[in-house]
């Protein structure tokens, strides 16, 4: 199982690295966008799958990263990636710190609502104040560069940079989740009461996870702003928080690769249902098609897309095998 996972992830990244050789302008742009979504989904997976915190306001951190990228860029020339990127992540992480301090005292449905409320506050700040530039959004006059080495205005350079960010985020979170910190988060997810009785100050652990997650979402926001050269309040809307939740559910909660698979599946399904070439007039109602597909896949694939191989194996091996598989699956998770 473990080897198969490593092979799958390696092949996926190799495929992404080779993709520009065969893709046109549209393809590059689409996959760049999806990879940014994947970074964003990974940030939420740390909270939902890693810690058991269902955050419904992740868009706030994405939006703050994106707005920071535009707002902090100088009007007369390009900013250096070296300071702009960390600054955007820091801005998002700081807001996550504030939201975390106040929201992590609640749990369950209250936590979901409080995180949503904080995201809506950020939305209205972007929407209704001069700081955010209102509904029309604001433009980035020049995209950030890294000396003469990297010019993110070039689609291919941005593609490569985004891929590197995705790989870096994935590797960082994979390390984090198997470390003592990650194991403590897993313990909090499974049984927070016992963690406290054992001596872990669980609030601090959850807050640290929240801040890291916010910082990574800020990275995704930065990439969005750079890719589009433009930000508007829709980036912070609750639909975005909802979509990223659907991505990780679709891919399979509890697995980092699930966040990436889910981001790709969601975005590609969206493209498919929006395509007039495939669906003709029905393409106007793409949300209906997408919604039905998502409901069907959640009903049929309780472990998400990454659980499909296991589910198939169980189907083939019959009931006895299925029971063993379920047990192995649980252990495998940890």
């Amino acid at each position: 199982m473990k080897h198969q996972r490593i092979i799958f992830v390696t092949l996926a990244f190799v495929a992404l690295a080779l993709f520009p050789l065969v893709a046109g302008k549209y393809g590059i742009d689409l996959i760049t966008k999806i990879m940014i979504f994947a970074v964003f989904a990974l940030s939420l997976e740390l909270l939902v799958g890693g810690t058991g915190l269902v955050c419904f306001g992740q868009a706030a951190f994405l939006g703050i990263g994106a707005y920071a990228a535009v707002r902090l860029s100088p009007q007369d020339g390009s900013a250096s990636l070296l300071w702009l990127l960390p600054a955007c992540m820091l801005a998002a992480a700081l807001y996550a710190l504030l939201v975390g301090v106040l929201s992590l005292r609640t749990s369950g449905v209250y936590f979901i609502m409080v995180t949503l409320a904080f995201a809506q506050m950020a939305y209205y700040v972007a929407h209704d104040t001069p700081l955010g530039g209102g509904t029309d959004g604001i433009y980035m006059t020049a995209k950030p560069v890294l000396g003469a080495v990297l010019d993110l205005d070039q689609p291919l350079v941005l593609y490569g940079f985004t891929l590197a960010c995705l790989l870096g985020t994935f590797a960082f979170l994979a390390l984090l989740l198997r470390s003592r910190f990650g194991r403590a988060l897993a313990g909090i997810r499974v049984n927070e009461q016992r963690m406290r009785a054992t001596g872990f100050s669980t609030f601090n652990y959850k807050l640290a996870a929240f801040v890291i997650s916010g910082g990574i979402a800020g990275l995704a926001g930065f990439l969005f702003a750079v890719k589009d050269g433009y930000v508007n309040p829709e980036l912070i809307s609750w639909h975005v928080s909802g979509n990223v939740l659907i991505m990780i559910i679709l891919g399979g909660i509890g697995h980092l690769r699930g966040a990436i698979v889910g981001a790709f599946a969601f975005a590609l399904l969206q493209e498919l249902f929006k395509s007039e070439a495939v669906f003709g007039d029905f393409a106007k109602h793409w949300q209906l098609g997408l919604g039905i597909t998502i409901i069907a896949s959640v009903a049929l694939l309780p472990r998400g897309l990454v659980g499909v191989p296991q589910q198939l194996a169980q189907r083939l091996l019959g009931r006895a095998g299925a029971q063993d598989g379920a047990v192995a699956g649980e252990v495998d998770d940890e």
Binding site: L176, R180, R183, V190, E330, V331
Partner: protein, 254 residues
């Protein structure tokens, strides 16, 4: 023997839930190398007492001292780090983790180092060693790779104790460790408790009277949130108030 070393002391602990008094000025002292049993009918406040001593809930009044230090205002994790371990009446384990990981995670408290994110927790030698040791002491040496949720009830109770031991506590608060155990498992657990007594101060809340009178050095009897008697097993056995209120007028058990 010189004067006994008191590791945990509760002084006039009171807990009110609205108008109801769950605990009324309960005082007790846990000494090293002794098992202090707390008995009483359901609703006497035994679990509430453990919850307050361990810091899971706050007392409405009174004071708690851990090794001479006032810890009344300390949050539960801090008390745990200072050497206060507890087990739960209802199994409170990590069911989806292996037995080893259940113990290792508890032992990780000794070397938290959360910022060292590049280190693999599974290779943490300190917590790994402590986990194996704790599991072995609790009689789970051969089951390290089993999924905790699939253990038998008795094994889960043993795991509760193992997780408690993995943190290397000085004081053990055990909430009905024998509940639902078969005769053989009970014997094994009692042998373990007798062994643990050598280094720890143990508070034992238990309904199994035979076990309590066999292993306890002191017994405190609670009824309706108040202590009605406290002393050696012989003293408690002969106490008239206890016989009336708890053991039954006929004294048919002893």
């Amino acid at each position: 023997m010189s004067e006994a070393e008191v590791l945990l002391r509760g002084l006039e602990i009171t807990r009110r839930w609205g108008g109801l008094i769950a605990l009324n000025k309960v005082s007790l002292a846990l000494e090293r190398r002794s098992v202090h049993a707390v008995i009483g009918p359901n609703g006497a406040g035994k679990s509430t007492l453990i919850n307050i001593l361990s810091g899971e809930i706050d007392p409405s009044g009174g004071k708690i001292e851990l090794m001479g230090q006032d810890v009344t205002a300390w949050a539960q994790p801090r008390r745990a780090r200072a050497g206060l371990g507890r087990s739960y009446q209802r199994n409170t384990i990590y069911p989806s983790f292996s037995v080893f990981e259940n113990c290792r995670l508890a032992a990780q408290m000794r070397v938290p180092r959360p910022w060292m994110f590049w280190q693999d927790a599974q290779r943490c030698s300190v917590s790994g060693l402590a986990a194996r040791e704790a599991a072995a002491r609790a009689g789970l040496a051969g089951m390290l790779e089993r999924t905790a949720g699939l253990l038998s009830h008795g094994q889960k109770r043993q795991l509760e104790i193992a997780m408690c031991l993995a943190t290397n506590p000085a004081v053990l608060l055990l909430d009905e460790p024998l509940a639902g155990m078969g005769a053989e498992e009970t014997e094994r657990m009692l042998a373990l408790l007798a062994e643990l007594k050598a280094e720890h101060a143990i508070l034992l809340v238990e309904h199994d009277m035979d076990a309590v009178f066999r292993i306890a050095d002191r017994i405190t009897v609670m009824v309706n949130g108040a202590v009605i008697a406290s002393g050696t097993p012989d003293f408690v056995r002969g106490n008239a108030a206890v016989r009336t209120a708890y053991l039954g007028e006929a004294g048919d058990e002893h």
